[in-house]
């Protein structure tokens, strides 16, 4: 027969003792809720960018893009999204980055913004690949630096690290407004 401690756990029952310690440890863990923001991280050539998740309605595989005459070269054409007709913009052209050659990883982000006068604006944005969709802790996002290329100034809302590589967070509302006004 073994003796019992005050807590009722047998001194000769090491497993029960360990489990008891674990339970105590778990209770000491304090949950800290850090504010996060969902981001869609994507690449144009070898550079990483991100849009807020709320601005990306869908990620589509690269499909047939139909040319429409009279559009600037940065507006590649239109696609059929389940009966809706959506424009497709070559995002790299607006950011001053050359696109990589087409590959199976290329995708079209279906971007959406409130637009001016609360009229929603929607357009496809061609990217070379989608890296990840994840929650980023807001505190880890640093303000954009003054050394960013000119095309990115005013569009970049912050910079954060993803697998050791810098990711530039972009303002889609601003991008669409600038494009609509032919500022890009």
């Amino acid at each position: 027969m073994s003796t019992s401690t005050e807590s009722g756990i047998s001194e000769k029952d090491p497993l029960a003792s360990v489990l008891e310690q674990r339970r105590d440890a778990d209770q000491r863990i304090v949950e800290v809720e850090a504010a996060t923001v969902k981001c869609v991280i994507f690449a144009i050539d070898d550079r990483l960018f991100a849009f807020p998740g709320g601005n990306v309605a869908e990620i589509l595989p690269l499909t047939t893009i139909h040319f429409v005459p009279g559009c600037p070269s940065s507006l590649e054409g239109v696609i059929n999204v389940r009966g809706d007709i959506t424009s497709v913009i070559r995002l790299g052209d607006l950011l001053g980055c050359a696109h990589a050659p087409d590959s199976r990883r290329a995708a079209i982000l279906l971007g959406q913004s409130r637009g001016t006068d609360d009229v929603p604006m929607r357009s496809g944005l061609r990217v070379d690949r989608v890296e990840d969709v994840l929650d980023i802790i807001e505190e880890s996002i640093r303000p954009p630096t003054d050394t960013l290329p000119e095309q990115l100034r005013g569009l970049a809302t912050g910079i954060f690290q993803h697998h050791g590589q810098a990711v530039i967070a972009l303002d889609l509302e601003r991008l669409f407004q600038d494009y609509r006004c032919a500022l890009r």
Partner: protein
Amino acid sequence: MPESMDPLATDVSGIDLVRFGVGALTLAVERVKVRGMCKTQDPFAPSLATLLQIPQSAAAATPLGRLLEFDHPEGPHSLRVDEPVIHWRLPTSALRPLPPLLAARQSLACVRALAYIGHPPDDRLIIVLDAWQLPRLATAADHEDPPVLD
């Protein structure tokens, strides 16, 4: 000749269009704005592809052409298009306005609406033009010096 569009056949309202090719593109204009059509063998007849500055890849040459006479406020425009030329009724439910960013950046006022027919991956884009908004054809008079007024 009217072409059936089975998925949209129940739509009773529609718009009568004349549909034709320009290289790899399919364009259409309202039937009421087309005054006539004739065959042409003239490779130098003014073409809609040139007028709309459609790139060579999208405006690949085809052997057969038609001369369509479009109604226009400045007088009829006769322009070469590619066959087949089809009189066709598009259900209004298939007609879409230009997407907002495309509309904002569109340099050709004659590009008014879009429609997809068929189903992916065999769907086809129809670009609906307003013949009254077609750019004016450049004529020899455009290259002459303006008359000097005394």
